[in-house]
Amino acid sequence: MTERTAGATPRRTSLMQLDARTKSRNAAEARFKAYGLGAITIALLALAMLMFSIFSTGSSAFRQTYATFEMMLPAETLDPKGNRDPAEMAKVTTIGYQNVLRGGLIEAVRSAGIVPDGVADSDITGILSPEAAADLRNRVLANPELVGTVVDIDALAHGRIDGYFKGRVTMQSAERDGNITPQRLQLAQAMTDNGLMAIRFNWGFVTKPDASDQRPEAAGLGVAILGSLYMMLVVLVLAVPIGVAASIYLEEFAPKNRWVDVIEVNISNLAAVPSIVFGILGLAIFINFAHLPQSAPIVGGLVLTLMTVPTIIISTRAALKAVPPSIRDAALGIGASRMQSVFHHVLPLAMPGILTGTILGLAQALGETAPLLLIGMVAFVRDYPDAPPAGLFDPASALPVQIYNWTQRADPAFVERASGAIIVLLAFLLVMNAIAIILRRRFERRW
């Protein structure tokens, strides 16, 4: 071992002084480490940018501009017969309420003495959303006693006015805009200074249905949230039993043979099939073949169930695998059947893991968009679906599809709405994931 090649002089090195080779190796080491840190920085930066972009454009969707003033609701126009009977009063159309509302606004603004010169009445009424009259009508029909009294009005301002206060609309852009004029913006500014207009928290964004292309200020997520909720219900009722049953069979009872192998490969492949393919399946089977209604939560739920089952199977099997065999052996040893050992002992112990996996699968299903587009969930739906089970067959929207829908509209105010909807979606996901994490922390057992 100590033999040296003849003629070679030993290299004189010192631990204190690094030679060139060591230096370059150390430099390479530092570089490599920097690459790793760089990669992490890029990933985190991307996350930060994504979140910042969504929250900075979307948070304003939760605040909305309202014109607030007092007015008398004239009984002679709103309830000509004077019976305060909602069925009779329903004969007065939204147009009637619009005239009343406009009159009230003009009077309130004129009497405050803040109208700049040269502003016509049509400019004053132009600051209101077309939806405001419908809101007032619903309010009056729900509570007929309001007629003939002086009430506080909270009227939705026009989307462009709202955009002006949120920085989307400027005086310059208003000049080129057919829906708004600079005079109206000045008036709105004056009204705000005078307390006749205010930006407040907008519950309607979460509770109201979608609105048409011209009324971004009235668009809300109510129907979409309900639709998503219904679909999650379907997924929960179908995917969890199927997924858990399949995993129990595969993990605890299945013999090791070719047939079971095929099922296993199949499941891992299904988990990786693009989601849009499930949409095509849903369209072909549930809608064209089974004639289920389009844009119904039941169809969306079925498609999402097929997508979620593999995910649930994979996590449930992991949870079952984590239960040590000694539990099964002990149960069998005192005379339980195999079925009893699984259902009485293994399954309860695996429950936290199964629940966690289920919630994560549901979260994945909640955010899925592509398959829902194909089964017609993009339709414009303004009516709330009924209570389940009948409501499962009513047309509804879904949160992610509503977001997609809004991105396809022309008015830039819908970008704000779409981002706001994403915040709602992310909030739901956050809650679900938090529950999953808490469950895991609380009940996870190490054997």
């Binding site: 492949n269 099939v273 592509a370």
Partner: protein
């Protein structure tokens, strides 16, 4: 909803059966349950199953068969000519269904009485208007034949629904009696219950197979339908994509495939280095504390729905790339481009690549690391020359899985890549992908039998075959690799 009520009634009968079966078995031993073969509740479950399962199975089959029977009878009432095409027949059926639905709604809401409906039999012409007045949005004019058909449709549906209710409840009750008579002390109730449970478990695991079969069958069926109307040479080798609704569409796959592959390539170009280095740093260098902070943060990226990435591409990344790169460089003026979609998709894939590689790197035995470090290699040399080569098959598998994800991704490309089907090299131009075209061909109000719509199924099948191929290869590689170190 009578179906739902029938279901509830069956469940109620079954619950009753549970109590009766359990009690009956115990009573036959004079209260000494030790003489029973099985635990008392198994007798209850056995009765429950006999009361519920056959009834519900019949119910489900009935739901599938009933529309077929109704349709057959309605078609014969429609009096269609002998040589009617399936498309025409379907159109006629659709009319019948719309009117029938409107009639049902009108009857349910009380806007129309049964007598009023019967009065239309002599002169059905004003019926359409009457239904519209009752709040229906259907626009069909009701002819005498149509009225007849609707009558048959509703009559048969109603009759069958009643028969079904009676049959099902009868079956359920019969089940209760059979169960009670069988629940003797020496009856092996547990074995019977377990057999049923087992078959339920097996059926649940076969659903996965059914899903795959359904995917393949439905797509193959519609695809052959498509190829019977459109030349397959144009589809597979055509370089132009221009659907025209007067016919003469050119539906070439190549531009879509090119766009798909180009965008996926850019996405992998972003995701693989970043994801891989992240995984390496986190598993080999990072302190426990850093790992516990960074790893969940990166996993957040994995939990974000793709529609969010799509919006990010649309409102932030697209304009950014356009204003700071494409326009100053004179490369394009479009916010949606291959680059936009590719970059954002790359971000989406980072956690996918990093968590898969993390598992794989951690599977490399510690002894190999120790040996390399013991020979004097620096950590980075160990990683490059020992760990990565050892983990390479797994990493390749992970990249293939990521590629299959990228190819099948829809929302990011729908919102970020544009809709122009073209073959080009400029990454700042809008291109389109297979998934975008599937969405655009299937979401419009188009005739379902035109090649322009059916092409979506051919595209879907192509997508399915490509991703399935990638997945199978990737899973095979990852599996064999894992076994190597176990």
């Amino acid at each position: 909803m009578p179906l739902f009520w029938t279901f509830l009634i069956v469940l109620a009968i079954a619950a009753l059966a549970f109590v009766l079966g359990r009690r009956g078995a115990v009573a036959r031993t004079a209260g000494d349950s030790r003489q029973l073969h099985s635990l008392p509740s198994y007798y209850g479950w056995y009765s429950f199953i006999l009361a519920a399962v056959p009834a519900l199975v019949v119910m489900i089959m009935w739901i599938f068969v009933q529309p077929i029977v109704v349709e057959m009878r309605t078609v014969s009432a429609l009096d269609l000519p002998e040589a009617v095409s399936t498309a025409d027949q379907n159109a006629a059926m659709r009319q019948v269904r719309t009117v029938a639905m409107a009639v049902q709604d009108a009857l349910a809401s009380g806007a129309m009485t049964k007598d009023q409906l019967a009065a239309f039999a002599t002169d059905p012409a004003p019926m359409g208007q009457a239904l519209r007045d009752a709040g229906s949005s259907m626009l069909v004019t009701v002819t005498p034949t149509l009225y007849n058909a609707v009558d048959v449709y509703l009559g048969t549906s109603n009759m069958l629904a009643w028969i079904m209710t009676v049959v099902i409840i009868g079956l359920s009750l019969a089940g209760v009696f059979v169960a009670i008579s069988r629940c003797r002390p020496d009856f092996r109730a547990r074995n019977a219950v377990e057999k049923v449970t087992m078959s339920i478990l097996v059926m649940a695991s076969v659903i996965a197979i059914f899903t795959t079969v359904a995917i393949v069958v439905s797509m193959v069926f519609e695809t052959t339908n498509f190829f019977s109307q459109h030349s397959w040479i144009d589809f597979f080798f055509g370089t132009t994509w221009s659907p025209a609704f007067q016919g003469q569409s050119q539906l070439g796959l190549l531009p879509l495939l090119w766009g798909t592959l180009y965008i996926s390539f850019i996405a992998l170009l972003v995701a693989v280095p970043v994801g891989l280095f992240t995984a390496i740093y986190l598993s080999e260098y990072a302190t426990r504390r850093m790992r516990s902070i960074v790893k969940p943060l990166i996993e957040i990226l994995a939990g974000i729905p793709t529609i969010v990435y799509g919006l990010f591409a649309l409102i932030t990344v697209g304009p950014l790339l356009r204003d700071y790169f494409a326009q100053p460089l004179g490369l394009g003026t479009s916010g949606s481009s291959v680059m936009t979609a590719g970059l954002v998709m790359g971000i989406m894939l980072i956690p996918f690549v990093s968590s898969l590689s993390d598992d794989i790197i951690n599977a490399v035995p510690q002894s190999m690391r120790d040996a390399s470090l013991g020979l004097g290699a620096t950590p980075s040399e160990t990683i490059r020359q020992v760990i990565v080569p050892a983990a390479l098959p797994g990493i390749v598998g992970a990249i293939l899985l990521a590629a299959s994800r990228a190819i099948g991704e829809t929302m990011i490309v729908v919102l970020g890549a544009g809709a122009a089907a073209q073959i080009g090299l400029n990454p700042f131009e809008a291109m389109t992908t297979i998934t975008v075209k599937i969405v655009s061909q299937l979401t419009g109000d188009t005739d379902f039998n035109s090649p322009e719509t059916l092409v979506a199924f051919a595209l879907g099948l192509t997508l399915f075959v490509i991703t399935l191929g990638l997945n199978i290869v990737a899973l095979y590689i990852v599996r064999t690799y894992r076994e190597q170190y176990e």
